[in-house]
């Protein structure tokens, strides 16, 4: 029966997803669950020799393979930074593209070690889904994009409109909440794959496309004529995007969290990809501790003391990463500026 092939290809891909989850969960987890939840994932990553990182299926600026098939983007830099911290080699990463819908099963089932994939930190994801969010690496909010030709000024004017949205996101739930409280009636078009939901909006199937504003900026800049699309000024939600890991492995979560803080602190202290070599001679005590000249902060994280140098050599600091991947999309630092520059990005001390 031919249709069976198809069935398995797509729809029962769901079942495979379920099995992918069920099987690893069903087998006794030698390294992970049964020991004290100390450092199962880090051990597994180390013995495997690569970090498996869940990213988007392709969102310019965040995670997208370039023409040589090399993954690039803001989220990708976090995968590389964690690999550099663990192995001293940022290339030891295997990237697994995930849709909004498939990402959580991929992490729960152990298919990936780390999700670095514009995922919003919410209470239920942090608790009942069984995850731990490392740190907010991008403060975002949800917005709407419409064709400029519609001449809209505010999202409140969208009453009666058809709105494209990806399922399995906070986006779709915020949309219904917002519509309810603002008495805006709308018809949803809910499509799983990013290219297709964007395609539906471009084709005019929907009047508006809604997602995180960073995602809108990325999609807009990828269009042949970005000026034909306008991002409305309304911000209808808080979307703190954060890399996340499975709960029950505090050690690995610590590594990811402090890699982010390292990127922030490096920017704060003026340590860049280019000058990290010289900075080892910087007299400031915190810089010395951070870069492993003094003290054993690296060992405390279960890493080599050169971890910070390795990370910064591979990716540069937070500001450099932002400049490299997000500034070209027209995204401003805004809330993502450092705390001492009027933003929210703030690292606890390296001590």
């Amino acid at each position: 029966m031919q249709p069976f092939g198809l069935l398995f290809a797509r729809a029962l891909g769901v079942a495979t997803l379920g099995l992918a989850l069920a099987l690893p969960l069903a087998l006794p987890v030698a390294a992970q669950a049964q020991q004290a939840p100390a450092s199962g994932t880090s051990e597994a990553i180390r013995s495997r020799g690569t970090l498996i990182c869940g990213v988007t299926t392709g969102l310019a600026g965040f995670a997208q393979p370039d023409s040589q098939g090399v993954w690039r983007g803001f989220d990708v830099e976090y995968c590389r930074a964690v690999a550099a911290a663990i192995f001293g080699d940022a290339s030891k990463v295997r990237y697994v593209p995930t849709t909004a819908q498939s990402r959580f099963t991929a992490l729960q089932s152990g298919e990936v070690d780390l999700l670095a994939r514009n995922t919003t930190w919410t209470l239920s994801r942090d608790t009942s889904l069984g995850f731990d969010f490392a740190a907010t690496n991008f403060y975002d909010g949800q917005g709407f994009m419409v064709k400029t030709s519609l001449g809209l000024k505010s999202a409140k004017e969208l009453d009666g409109a058809t709105i494209c949205v990806q399922p399995g996101t906070t986006t779709e739930q915020n949309l219904t909440d917002w519509a309810r409280s603002n008495r805006v009636r709308f018809t949803p078009v809910v499509i799983e794959r990013l290219e297709e939901v964007v395609g539906a909006y471009i084709a005019g199937r929907c009047d508006a496309y809604t997602t995180d504003i960073s995602g809108l900026a990325s999609t807009r800049s990828a269009q042949p004529r970005p000026a034909e699309h306008t991002i409305l000024p309304d911000v209808i939600s808080k979307e703190p995007l954060a890399p996340l890991v499975r709960q029950g492995d505090a050690r690995f979560a610590d590594v990811v969290r402090w890699v982010h803080f390292l990127l922030l602190s490096a920017e704060e202290f003026g340590i860049t990809q280019a000058n990290v070599g010289q900075m080892a001679n910087d007299p400031r005590p915190e810089v010395q501790r951070m870069l492993g000249r003094n003290g054993e902060l690296g060992q405390m994280l279960g890493l080599d003391n050169a971890w910070a140098v390795n990370v910064l050599k591979a990716t540069g600091n937070y500001g450099e990463i932002f400049q490299r991947h997000l500034a070209p999309l027209g995204i401003q630092r805004g809330q993502n500026a450092l705390w001492n520059a009027g933003g929210l990005q703030y690292s606890p001390p390296f001590r």
Binding site: F4, L17, G160, Q173, G204
Partner: protein, 400 residues
């Protein structure tokens, strides 16, 4: 299956032997092995299960079906029953189930009609007709269904926007928002009239049986159409009239972004239905053709010799015999339509898979979500199989 073909020897019971508790007794050995196998399978299942529960606990992933009563907050575009995002996950899943049934049932009916016509056309003596049917059948079966769905969806998205909608007839609008049709404002009286119509059809069919049975006895033909006219046309009209004959047409009209009022068929539903029907009809056509060819040529000739016209030969002699060959493979096509309808997720039609997927994503309870999907498809598939087996037994040739 049919009673007359049972070999009478098989009705004789084998001689009974007392059971000896000895390894040399074949039955004792049989029972031993069966217990062993069931035991092994059972303990493997138990082992997998207890590990799953343990690991879910360690990872602090929620379990159980409690989430079904929580507010879903999901936007759903089309629904047969009332739905709002403030409803529960359970209701959202029911909406998804009904959407699956809506596309499967309509798909099965249309694919059967189209497939039968195509199968007959392919056997036609008209060269052009049979070649065209042949090309359709070969081409449609060779292209992956997912590709076809994406193609239909892309074509429907290519229609003009609502402001430039095609307007082939008054009140009918075709745009990339779907097909809009005028519709009557539904009131209770219409429901009762519909009920009367269904009862009328059942009554007419019953009368037809009686008429045929009596004709078998006395040879007198009895007319069915006056009864049909009365029960199917007059009765519902009378009911509707008696209830005040409400008749308000709801015309679709462009207001703001989109049309308001009237009935709507979304591009997602339309693309899915079109894809499923065209694809499955290709397979059904081949099944119908094979069924007709399975009837020996002598039957055609004999029927023609009796002076029956070709249409009558097909209707009275060939199709009833062909059906016996057609029904079993047809059942698997019906199952395929239902299961293939889950490709809906690719083009944004919110069927049970789409909604269960979102539910499991938001609650994180993948095992429960998948269990629900499997249960739904199992139930639908078993129902189709049971019905088709019943029908198959009913039309089976009773040899005398």
């Amino acid at each position: 299956m049919s009673e007359a073909t049972i070999d009478p020897r098989s009705l004789r019971a084998p001689p009974r032997r007392p059971l000896r508790l000895s390894w040399s007794d074949e039955r004792v050995r049989g029972i031993f092995w069966q217990i062993l196998v069931v035991g092994i399978v059972g303990s493997i299942v138990w082992w997998l299960w207890s590990n799953t529960v343990h690991n879910l606990e360690v990872r602090r992933i929620a379990t159980g079906f409690g989430f079904l009563n929580r507010e879903a907050g999901l936007p759903i575009a089309e629904s047969v029953i009332d739905y709002s995002p403030a409803d529960t996950y359970l209701r959202a899943l029911v909406v998804g189930l009904l959407n699956t049934l809506k596309v499967s049932v309509v798909g099965i009916i249309l694919a059967t009609i189209l497939g039968t016509l195509m199968g007959i056309a392919r056997l036609s003596r008209n060269w052009l007709l049979s070649k065209l049917a042949g090309i359709y059948i070969e081409a449609i079966r060779d292209l992956p269904l997912l590709l076809q769905l994406l193609l239909w969806y892309a074509i429907l998205q290519g229609l003009p926007g609502p402001r430039q909608a095609l307007n082939p007839a008054p009140g009918v609008f075709l745009s990339n928002r779907g097909l809009k049709l005028p519709w009557i404002e539904w009131q209770a009286a219409h429901g009762w009239a519909l009920l009367a119509l269904i009862l009328g059809i059942i009554g007419t069919l019953a009368w037809r049986r009686v008429a045929i049975a009596r004709r078998m006895q006395d040879g007198q033909p009895r007319r069915v159409w006056p009864v049909a006219l009365g029960l199917i046309v007059a009765l519902p009209l009378a009911v509707w009239y008696a209830l005040g004959a409400p008749w308000v047409v709801d015309w679709p009209a462009l207001r703001g972004f989109n049309f308001r009022g009237g009935a709507n068929m979304s591009p997602e539903y339309f693309a899915l239905l079109l894809g499923l029907v065209l694809y499955t009809a290709g397979f059904i056509a081949e099944i119908v053709r094979a069924g007709i060819l399975a009837v020996p040529h002598g039957q055609w000739e004999a029927a023609q010799a009796l002076g029956l016209r070709p249409k009558m030969v097909l209707k009275l002699i060939v199709l009833p015999q062909a059906l016996r060959v057609i029904i079993p493979p047809m059942t698997s096509q019906y199952l395929n339509i239902t299961k293939n309808s889950s490709l809906a997720v690719a083009i944004g039609y919110q069927d049970i898979v789409s909604i269960a997927n979102t539910t499991l994503n938001q609650t994180g309870q993948a095992i429960e979500g998948i269990a629900i999907i499997m249960l739904v498809y199992l139930t639908i598939s078993l129902s189709i199989s049971l019905f088709m087996n019943w029908y198959n037994a009913r039309i089976a040739l009773v040899e005398r």
